[in-house]
């Protein structure tokens, strides 16, 4: 019945992106614009005894040089942490370091010059008198009594401790289990690397006293709020933040970064526009990193395969400063997902957020949920081997059943809907699971190392309601705004507080509105990313845009329909109750009399002219602020097959199949794109990516020569399937599709590699499973077998 919803409509934004006509912050050229470059620390930890910028200031073409002290003296504020659980200890994070640098890449001074080359030449002339200090980089070692202290304000480098559940009760149940699987492991640091590096341009207008900031961000409204209340102190009504086309974020562009303070401040100081564009090298040492957990976990299982208890302790590396949402990731978005798809009667989880001399760690695609899924799915896989059970059978034994929703887990969440057996039935079908098993077993008989990996993952998307997330420590609610404006000619502008940076909102939201109002997609414009155009909204991350932002738009469309029906009734002299809004073509007629009708444009004009009921306000513009009653819980069954080269440890990912329940689907092509891309990112963590620091806090993987991003030939196209169990958390029934590929990709492939090595007796190898690491495991296994 719907014309657009559920259809693979081609993305309306693609022609401009494919043809290089996107407008990114770096494309912006303003008259008299200065170019900023930032002097960054080569040390992980050092006192700053002095900064001598005299030679830099004297260089021809240099406009100004400012240090951390200049910004501090001018009253610039600390970058705030926006998620503060009870008992958290924080420390200031100045946009440019004042007394001490705390990670390689920490900013020390900024140069503004007439051109960017001169700015970089000037950086080389700034002399910083550093007094190097010992560094700490490991999340757990940072808590040792003799570890170097990153901040005087944060004793033992421990910013917060977040427990959920009763440890003693859980251990009691654990001890009564037939079998306990124990695992110490890491979830390695990842470096996001969106295709477009971050960038910021600021222009201060001294006459109107207004600041305009263009920044490559996932949520311009939140950035404006933080600039107003914390860093720059410019009130919201004098501050406009614009995030135009943004070339990917993956979480790393959610946060308020130092450059978003430095650049506007410099513009105001100098009375001229200032531009800063991150280099790729800078991105490696300044964009928030992801993951980096050290974990000890235990899963209790009875001989029949029933899970009894789960106990987890995690040390989460926060890096040198608490980034905007950092403490939320290893707490409210991590421990609350420990139940997975399963009934686990007793769960305890606790995490410590620790400070180290590394780049701050915050949300990266999946944000906490990949870490939760990885730990649970690895433990279950080991349990399946220990019990000699098929890994899918063991999972099925513990599934939450379809009639048990809404399901209250022991870790706060109430799951909305799902049918995990159906999900796995379909995954087995799509992957050809039984044939895969035969193929693997045949290969094993030939002496080859072939393995199959399975995972069943859960995600919490579309976070809400706001009072729940704020009670956990979030500094903002997670409602969303959606405004539908019908112009007098019948064309439509939709204003959303979400932000698209690869998600295709200009297409999917237009599909939604086209069906809701019965108008052509071409008549609809989606407006986002400019605080002067759209009312406050919370941006895009955590797979929230369709579930929360889409619902707000849908509800505004409902209001528009009701108002249009009332106007039509007035004009046709009929009762409102008798009016029928035909969503096929946007006409309104009297029930039973299709001839007595008005078109969408008729009513749009009438609303302008005032030909409306006396008690009605003119114009057709409706807004909704939707606060979701609950999260949504997308879920997945992914299956992969790998072959490990016995001699070298090289891994070939032979097959990957994924079946997901992301609820109702607006555009299957876009959902499939999200999944294919997400899976590649998940596989990247399993096989390739690793942000490595040495003991002195030097980043050893600071370029693509050393940081292994997945490439097209590393990963096959995945076979995709879908089941659609609508979410009751929103009227669209959508759940969220942006992150599941990444969440499930890692444990699925890691489990496959471990299955391949199972005949050798290998139990666990930390990810990434590089050829060298796997070869090492094969060597140790054959040594211990001898």
């Amino acid at each position: 019945m719907s014309k657009y919803m559920g259809k693979a409509v081609k993305r309306v934004e693609d022609p401009r992106f494919i043809q290089g006509r996107g407008k990114y912050v770096a494309n912006l050229k303003l008259a008299n614009m200065g170019h900023a470059a930032i002097k960054r620390s080569p040390f992980a930890h050092a006192k700053i005894n002095g900064v001598d910028a005299s030679a830099a200031k004297a260089l021809d073409g240099v406009i100004a040089v400012y240090t951390g002290q200049d910004l501090q003296a001018a009253g610039v504020g600390s970058l705030p942490c926006g998620f503060n659980p009870p008992g958290i200890v924080t420390a200031p994070h100045m946009p440019l370091a004042v007394d001490k640098v705390r990670h390689v890449g920490d900013g020390v001074a900024v140069v503004i010059a007439n051109d960017i080359y001169t700015a970089y030449d000037a950086l080389d002339l700034i002399e910083v008198d550093y007094e190097p200090l010992p560094a700490v980089v490991d999340a757990k070692k940072a808590t040792a009594a003799d570890a170097p202290q990153v901040h005087d304000e944060i004793p033992n480098n421990t910013s917060f401790h977040w427990p959920l559940g009763e440890s003693d009760t859980v251990m009691g149940a654990m001890n009564e289990s037939d079998h306990v699987v124990e695992l110490d492991f890491i979830n390695q640091r990842l470096i996001p690397n969106a295709m477009e590096p971050r960038a910021c341009v600021a222009e201060w207008n001294a006459f109107t006293e207004e600041m305009t900031v263009w920044t490559s961000s996932q949520n311009p409204h939140l950035i404006r709020l933080l600039m107003s209340m914390a860093t720059l102190g410019i009130p919201e009504n004098r501050l406009r933040v614009i995030s135009p086309d943004v070339g990917g974020g993956f979480g790393s562009k959610i946060f308020h970064y130092p450059e978003e303070v430095i650049v506007p401040w410099c513009s105001k100081q100098l009375g001229q526009p200032v531009k800063w564009v991150s280099t790729r090298s800078e991105a490696f040492v300044t964009d928030a990193h992801g993951r980096d957990h050290v974990t000890t976990a235990k899963l209790g299982v009875n001989n029949d395969g029933t899970f009894t208890a789960l106990h987890v302790q995690t040390w989460a590396n926060m890096g040198a400063y608490l980034s905007t949402f950092a403490p939320m990731i290893p707490t409210a978005l991590y421990i609350t997902l420990f139940s997975g798809l399963y009934k686990i009667p007793h769960i305890f989880g606790e995490s410590w957020g620790t400070m180290t001399n590394t780049v701050p760690v915050d949300a990266y695609r999946g944000a906490g949920r990949p870490e939760a899924s990885y730990l649970l799915e690895r433990l279950i896989d080991i349990a399946a081997r220990d019990l000699n059970m098929d890994p899918i059978e063991l999972r099925r034994k513990n599934f939450i059943q379809p009639d048990e929703f809404p399901y209250q887990t022991p870790v706060a969440m109430v799951y909305d809907s799902g049918d995990y057996d159906q999900l796995f039935d379909k995954a087995m079908e799509v992957s050809g699971y039984n044939e895969m098993i035969e193929e693997r077993d045949r290969a094993r008989q030939e002496g080859r190392l072939v393995g199959i990996g399975v995972s069943g993952c859960i995600e919490a998307s579309g976070a809400g309601p706001s009072k729940v997330v704020t009670s956990l420590g979030a500094g903002v609610g997670l409602w969303e705004h959606g405004l539908v404006r019908v112009h007098p000619t019948g064309k439509i502008s939709v204003l959303t507080g979400t932000h698209a940076h690869g998600q295709g909102h200009e297409t999917t939201f237009a599909q939604l509105v086209a069906d809701e109002l019965g108008v052509p997609m071409d008549d609809i414009e989606i407006v986002h990313g400019d605080t002067s155009k759209t009312p406050f909204g919370l941006g895009t991350y955590a797979s929230r845009s369709a579930a929360v932002g889409g619902t707000a738009i849908m509800k505004s469309c409902e209001k528009i329909r009701e108002k249009m029906k009332a106007i039509a009734a007035y004009q046709l002299e009929a009762a409102v109750e008798d009016m029928v809004y035909d969503q096929e073509n946007g006409t309104i007629h009297v029930q039973g009399s299709p001839d007595r009708s008005k078109t969408f444009v008729d009513i749009s004009v009438a609303a302008l002219m005032g030909h409306i009921p006396d008690d009605m306000e003119p114009s057709l513009e409706e807004a909704t602020f939707f606060d979701p009653p609950n999260f949504t819980f997308p879920n997945s069954a992914h299956i992969a097959m790998v072959e490990v080269d016995k001699e070298s440890g090289e891994i070939s990912l032979l097959k990957y199949a994924a079946v997901d329940d992301v609820g109702n689907v607006i555009n299957p092509m876009i959902v499939e794109g999200q999944l294919q891309g997400g899976i590649v990112q998940g596989v990247g963590q399993a096989l390739l990516e690793h942000g490595i620091y040495d003991e002195d806090g030097q980043l050893l993987t600071g370029t693509f020569l050393d940081y292994a991003m997945p490439r097209a030939d590393d990963v096959p196209m995945s076979a995709l399937g879908r089941i659609e169990i609508p979410s009751p958390s929103n009227p669209l029934g959508v759940k969220g599709a942006g992150e599941m590929g990444t969440i499930a990709g890692t444990p699925t492939v890691a489990n496959a590699v471990m299955d391949a090595l199972h005949p050798l007796g290998v139990r666990h190898v930390d990810i990434p499973h590089t050829a060298a690491a796997i070869h090492g495991a094969i060597q140790s296994a054959s040594v211990s077998a001898d």
Binding site: I116, Y120, S648, E650, L687, T703, D706, A708, T770, H775
Partner: protein, 284 residues
């Protein structure tokens, strides 16, 4: 990623290039795919670049009298597409970087840079290539096995430049192959092995084997070659010959990094030598 200031000269001939370089104490710029990145990272500040990229006659492949001459400015993409070169060359060239790198990067620039993890030094060593080098005093020819002398070091002086590389042309009785363990990030070689075998039936009548990636520079593997010579090649004899690579590698010279320890690389040497030999034998 903004390089320091530099002056730029474009040479129209080899002679002019050599003179400009000497006059300004500059560096030669060919495809720029090694030099420009290190300049952008400000790890290199040559001050003066002498662009040799448009010198006539240095680009292209010509074959005559049993050998093929690859001009120094020939790109990796051209080598990848060539049908008159031994199989090992298109094979290895096709694994260098990505299409953009292969379209710009040059054979001469690559070997003059002498990156230990680069593929072509190993390939040319196996092919017993002759490196044509021009200097003020005229030109000379250096055997590949003498050309790569250390970490980013060659037998050339600063006053010389590569003009061409001469390799045997493709021949029905000779099989060549390159086997490579990729660095997962850079796709450079953690270990790369090259083999050129002449066969009569199953018998190996001539063998040239090289290894690179794990050492400061690519080397010939005389122990492996001796073990192959005269042998009837099968799985066992190939494995045995490959194992002899341990005698050709000075253990203390083997490099390790975050991607692969020295121990792992050493263990991988016979594995990839074996693969190169097997593939070359199959092609002979």
């Amino acid at each position: 990623m903004y390089p320091p200031k530099f002056d730029y000269y474009r040479a129209g001939s080899v002679e002019e290039a050599l003179a400009l370089r000497k006059q300004h104490d500059g560096k030669f710029l060919a495809g720029g795919h090694s030099l420009i990145p290190v300049m952008k990272l400000r790890l290199s500040d040559p001050g003066v670049l002498v662009d040799i990229g448009r010198i006539d006659g240095l680009k292209g492949i010509s074959a005559a009298n049993g050998s093929a001459k690859i001009g120094a400015l020939t790109t990796h993409a051209m080598v990848e597409a060539a049908d008159n070169l031994p199989d090992i060359l298109p094979e290895a060239a096709g694994w260098i970087g990505d299409p953009m790198v292969r379209n710009r990067g040059t054979v001469g620039g690559n070997i003059a840079h002498a990156d230990p993890a680069s593929d072509l030094p190993t390939v040319f060593t196996a092919l017993q290539a002759k490196i044509h080098v021009a200097g003020e005093g005229g030109s000379r020819v250096v055997e590949a096995s003498n050309f790569f002398t250390g970490l980013f070091e060659t037998a050339m002086s600063d006053d010389e430049m590569v003009t061409a590389v001469e390799v045997p042309s493709k021949d029905n009785h000779t099989g060549t192959a390159y086997a490579k363990l990729f660095n997962p990030a850079s796709r450079y070689a953690i270990v790369g092995a090259g083999a050129m075998l002449t066969m009569q039936g199953n018998q190996c009548t001539a063998a040239s084997v090289s290894i690179g990636g794990l050492l400061p520079n690519a080397i010939r593997c005389p122990s492996v070659e001796a073990a192959l010579f005269g042998q009837t090649l099968n799985e066992e004899t190939i494995a045995a010959a490959a194992a002899a690579v341990a005698n050709d590698i000075v253990a203390d010279d083997v490099m390790g990094d975050i991607h692969a320890s020295a121990e792992y690389r050493q263990r991988m040497a016979p594995v990839f030598v074996k693969r190169a030999i097997a593939a070359a034998a199959a092609r002979a």
